[in-house]
Subunit: 479 residues, 2 copies
């Protein structure tokens, strides 16, 4: 519970309307000049590939997007800039009065989502639905990426704590969102003071090597730290020589803390073979009767290294993760796209040589089916007006299908914005983290494993399939 | 030349003092409580590995950092938050009046830099020099990463234009910096309206597939676009069928534009085999007498694909690059670090099992040597008070050395901030791009190639080596 009003701090993006691709505006002017700005359009946000060769994505970013939309307008100096670029006065007048009054349906922040299914549906005038594209993609792609990476790290760590130390290697101001998304994905705390301040999430951190170097010797540095932070004393032990100097000095200070009535919280290892050093350090600590002193480790960790360390029974209590969490490392972008589904109720699709890249037409919803254990069975993409279909088909191999009539289902998308007005209070990152955790428990473990995870079923209804195939056919005849 | 005052827009980071790691503040309080806050410290910023397995880094971000430092202070609500975290009133009073009054020496924005050499040196009180760490690393690591990636793409593209289309896949608000850094690295324009507005750099963009889908047919969509943008008409030709529909329709519209006295600017290919489709499209255009119509391509491009396309003589005029530019793709972080060099004039270093990770002690400068052609020969890291040494040694194999007495040299680091005051006006991204281009011309081509680039010489002086080895020796005896 924060005493601080963080409203002002949250809206870091002061100019959301121009945090966009130029072509959104050239298209918007085109719609305006052709007199089409009253037409209604429906766009879907979805992704095609799961990053990290994983089995699921944790959806995040929708709260930031909705919050930013509250201040979505064109400022005078931005209009002046657009005039210099050659945009026409009548269109700039239109933008001057522009308000984002669309409807947004979306999965909940923290939801577990899968390829090809619409995660967000935007319905509004063709201009407002179009010009949201870049901003929406920028925020949702990145926050979902990092929430997913964090979820994998936490899954590997099990009951051990995972902390975000990544700000120094985050991609610039994206670090603001990275730390928030990491919390949603399951990380317990962050080194990022800004995120802690704004989102009321726990901050963590004690000392760098420079603290130790700045004193005459390591023991003095440790003692000074313990003097000021007896309750939260985690000593970095690898500045000079971990086992010959760092751990023995930490033990001395832990004993001195005991005399003062305190228990030292831990030591941190930031280099070397973490399995070897954690085992040796644990032994030294235990031999000194300090079995309560935790061991924290850091240094280029990711989910596979965490899993490897724990499978070696390395006596580690806490993992500090940085670069590979906040950048996504091997998959630094989620490939989410925003595609037109209909205009004025008329379904639209984009052809492709590659059948997997043909988009799904029309206004759609997603049903999540539950198996008899109450776990996720699979998802069905169906037309918005359909009642629950009995059969869900593989999107490309129609012969593959599942009968889902006996399964319970719930809608994946919920109305969040109606005529530009938020329908619900936005969840805090901690609330979204709790939701993600609860939903992840309903995902069978074969989808969570790191190597060749089982592919989660996402099918489409017969009606949607027929619609897609008929439009494809008629477009091919035309061209 | 912009009519717009972008001063306000530039400073997106409204709370720079808390965009930091928590441990900077626990250490700062520790220095304060131990009465050491008047001590002077000197820190170096440097990196160890060149990203992308490349041969050089384009340094960027220093202008953003200096600009942000102008508003570096702790706000009341931030102090209140810190009080809730348990920071002590006397330290918070100190922070309330805190001003960043350090000295900063740095390489120029756009400079070509190499591993292990100090690129920035910060000198100030131990508290101000310490708490700058995270902010400095966050900004310089990311902007240098993207400027370097952009430089490689431009190098591959040669005289062909390269455009940044990456905002939708950028890492959240980091997209603001990515587009700027891409310009510094050599990209010609950006789709990012925000960056164009703030930095006065050219914006670019025409249409998405949704524009074409939203009309009854492709030809109507093309005609409408040409009607509103006859001067800047680039048509996206792969929505339905590139060669059977897209290019033929584009040719019709180009002919209609000719009748109106305009020349169509280009077509864009965004899918399929870009070598094959560009060749076929070029043929169709040329057969129609439209040899002036350019071909732009996009879709997951990077420097190697650009090089491959051009080596196949694909008739491409313009490359639109996105995800792999703005995220750094295979190397999504530069591993820059910020290490303590001295306290109160006393040199400091951090030991490591790995000799390559032992830091260089003391207050240092960097000399760049030029060969007889005026190209970069190599760099020497020397103590700040040294005059130009005659010999530069390999940092780890002292027997390897170069005699540099006959070479011209210039200092790499320049004073930019003195007692917190900026000494020079900050360069614009366009100016820094021009500087980077000019400096890159002085880098021999073997350092620029993509496969196994030749390693650029970065050595140290005998005095610095002796200082390092003596301190290492005495620290090892102590521990």
């Amino acid at each position: 519970m924060s005493l601080v009003d963080t409203k002002e701090a949250k809206s870091i993006l002061k100019r959301p309307a121009i945090y966009t691709d130029y072509y959104e505006l050239t298209m918007a002017q085109g719609y305006f000049l052709s007199g089409r700005h009253g037409e209604r359009a429906c766009f879907d946000y979805f992704f095609r590939d799961i990053p990290f060769e994983g089995g699921y994505v944790v959806f995040a970013g929708i709260s930031d997007l909705l919050e930013i939309l509250e201040s979505f307008r064109f400022h005078e100096d931005e209009l002046q800039y657009l005039a210099e670029q050659g945009f026409r006065p009548e269109f700039l007048n239109y933008l001057r009065d522009f308000e984002f009054n669309a409807d947004i349906y979306a999965a909940k922040e923290g939801e577990i989502v899968f390829p090809r299914e619409p995660i967000v549906r935007v319905e509004g005038t063709i201009i407002e639905a179009q010009i949201l594209e870049t901003l929406l993609l920028n925020i949702l792609n990145f926050e979902s990426l990092i929430a997913t990476k964090a979820s994998r790290m936490k899954y590997a760590a099990g009951d051990h704590k995972v902390l975000d130390f990544g700000l120094r290697r985050a991609q610039g101001y994206g670090g603001i969102q990275a730390s928030k998304a990491a919390i949603i994905g399951g990380v317990e705390a962050t080194s990022n003071v800004y995120s802690s301040f704004v989102h009321n999430i726990p901050a963590s951190g004690t000392m760098a090597h420079s603290w130790i170097q700045s004193f005459e010797d390591e023991l003095t540095a440790f003692r000074k730290y313990a003097e000021y932070y007896p309750d939260n004393c985690i000593l970095l032990v690898d500045t000079y020589d971990t086992l010959a100097s760092g751990v023995p000095n930490a033990i001395k200070v832990a004993k001195e803390l005991e005399e003062r009535g305190y228990k030292m919280k831990g030591i941190r290892l930031d280099s070397g073979d973490l399995a070897y050093f954690s085992r040796k350090a644990r032994q030294q600590l235990d031999d000194a009767g300090l079995d309560y002193v935790n061991i924290a480790v850091s240094n280029q960790l990711d989910e596979r290294l965490i899993k490897s360390l724990l499978s070696q029974n390395a006596p580690i209590d806490l993992f500090g993760v940085g670069t590979r969490l906040v950048t996504g490392h091997e998959s630094p972008a989620l490939d989410g796209v925003y595609k037109l589904g209909s205009v004025n109720g008329q379904p639209k699709l984009k052809l492709s040589e590659n059948i997997e890249k043909i988009t799904l037409p029309g206004r759609k919803k997603v049903l999540r089916y539950f198996d008899s254990d109450g776990n996720f069975y699979g998802d069905g993409i169906v037309l918005a007006e359909e009642t629950k279909p009995n059969v869900i088909h593989h999107p490309f191999y129609p012969a593959k299908h599942s009968t889902v009539s006996s399964f319970n289902s719930e809608p994946l998308l919920h109305p969040l914005l109606e005529n530009g007005e938020q329908l619900h209070e936005l969840p805090s990152p901690t609330e979204s983290a709790a939701y993600a955790k609860q939903r992840l428990e309903k995902l069978n473990p074969e989808h969570k494993r790191f190597d060749n995870p089982h592919i989660y079923k996402v099918g489409i209804s017969k009606k949607l399939m027929d619609l897609r195939d008929n439009i494809t056919q008629s477009l091919k005849q035309k061209s």
